[in-house]
């Protein structure tokens, strides 16, 4: 079976090569989805800055040029949010659905419309499938989109997903015609189950929401990439640009960031960093990294080396 063969090939044949999934045979770590990128790099020439211009992300038939999704939460002002969106290059941004605030200044919707980005409503704050489904339906009414970032939270302290409720809500929403992008744990089996019920993508966490802890289990993110045929969007846990790069190097199709940008000391600079980080990781993933080795491998030839000692 192809899957078991792929797993076996990850076992290092050389004792000096680490079994780290980040280190293995490029064919093991580079997912199928990166093949068009690699081909393009060869034909178009990867030295040009535009190597990624035709490397589009498609989710449920919608094509995106940017592989960075931006959350709108945590920005101290709508002005800063707008500038960060521009700096990030993101085309898809998440919003929450909350009670109208009569005292609210400025309209988030107007700002997002002006920036020309698509809205991805979420079900943040929902703890049951019932609440998440109702929130998704309300979001569809409010924003005239059937896309939903499905979040069903199981624990107030960690904000980790409630797997059974998440799966139940995903199935109900898919049946109701939604394009469902579930925020999920880094469990490859759950990811597969979510895709089995019809989710358009999976959004596994790197670490708890807002923790900035990076990708705690890169092995599982690699396994998720292998386990499903839909886009994998690393969601939650990204703290800085290198975390986003790592996600892409692991084969993720996109990265979602929120707090890492909005709560950075300079959100606009961090948004810019994230844009480059995602591009860098995407290119590196397609480029096929060298394996990690314990000992050095000389990059200069041994032949023709000068001898400075006088002959004995």
């Amino acid at each position: 079976m192809a899957d078991s063969a792929r797993r076996q090939s990850a076992v290092p044949e050389n004792g000096h090569v680490s079994a780290d999934p980040l280190a293995g045979d490029p064919t093991t770590t580079a997912p199928r989805s990166t093949e068009p990128l690699a081909a393009e790099a060869h034909t178009a020439g990867s030295r040009t800055a535009g190597a990624l211009t035709k490397d589009l992300l498609t989710i449920a038939g919608r094509t995106l040029h940017s592989r960075l999704l931006l959350g709108t939460g945590g920005f101290p002002s709508l002005e800063l949010l707008a500038e960060s969106i521009r700096a990030s290059g993101s085309e898809l941004v998440t919003v929450a659905l909350r009670r109208v605030d009569p005292a609210a200044r400025g309209s988030l919707i107007d700002v997002l419309e002006r920036e020309g980005v698509e809205l991805l409503p979420n079900t943040a704050g929902c703890f049951t499938a019932r609440d998440a489904v109702l929130t998704a339906k309300l979001a569809r009414e409010a924003f005239a989109t059937d896309w939903i970032k499905l979040e069903v939270i199981g624990d107030e302290d960690t904000l980790l997903p409630d797997a059974p409720e998440l799966l139940k809500a995903a199935e109900l929403l898919v049946d109701d015609g939604f394009v469902v992008l579930p925020y999920t744990t880094d469990d490859p089996v759950l990811a597969r189950r979510l895709v089995d019920v019809g989710c358009a993508a999976v959004m596994p966490l790197g670490a708890p929401i807002g923790s900035g802890m990076g990708i705690r289990n890169p092995y599982n993110i690699s396994l998720i990439r292998e386990a499903v045929q839909v886009p994998v969007v690393l969601d939650a846990g990204v703290g800085t640009a290198s975390d986003a790069t790592l996600a892409m190097e692991l084969g993720c199709d996109a990265v979602m960031v929120a707090s890492a940008v909005s709560r950075a000391q300079d959100p606009i600079a961090m948004a810019t960093a994230m844009r480059h980080a995602v591009d860098a990781g995407r290119l590196a993933c397609g480029a096929g990294r060298i394996p990690r080795r314990t000992y050095a491998t000389a990059s200069s030839p041994r032949a023709g080396i000068a001898e400075f000692d006088s002959p004995a």
Partner: protein, 67 residues
């Protein structure tokens, strides 16, 4: 009397969802508004006709920064 976003409210002229949104100065065609009454979505097309029952829990929601 209704519960508007969790707060009791006694206001005549709010018999329909559209009427309530008018009183709240939310344009009835405003993008980004959704309404639930007693845990059920009231579709936009039904706002003018939907009569809010006495004692109903009405949630009027919109986009907020999040995620």
């Amino acid at each position: 009397m209704i519960y508007l976003n969790g707060t009791p409210r006694d206001d005549p002229g709010e018999q329909t969802v559209a009427g309530l949104l008018r009183v709240l100065e939310l344009a009835p065609d405003a993008r980004g508004i959704a309404v639930a009454v007693d845990g059920e979505v009231v579709p936009r097309a039904g706002w003018s006709n939907f009569a809010i029952p006495d004692g109903a829990r009405v949630e009027v929601l919109t986009a907020m920064q999040g995620g």
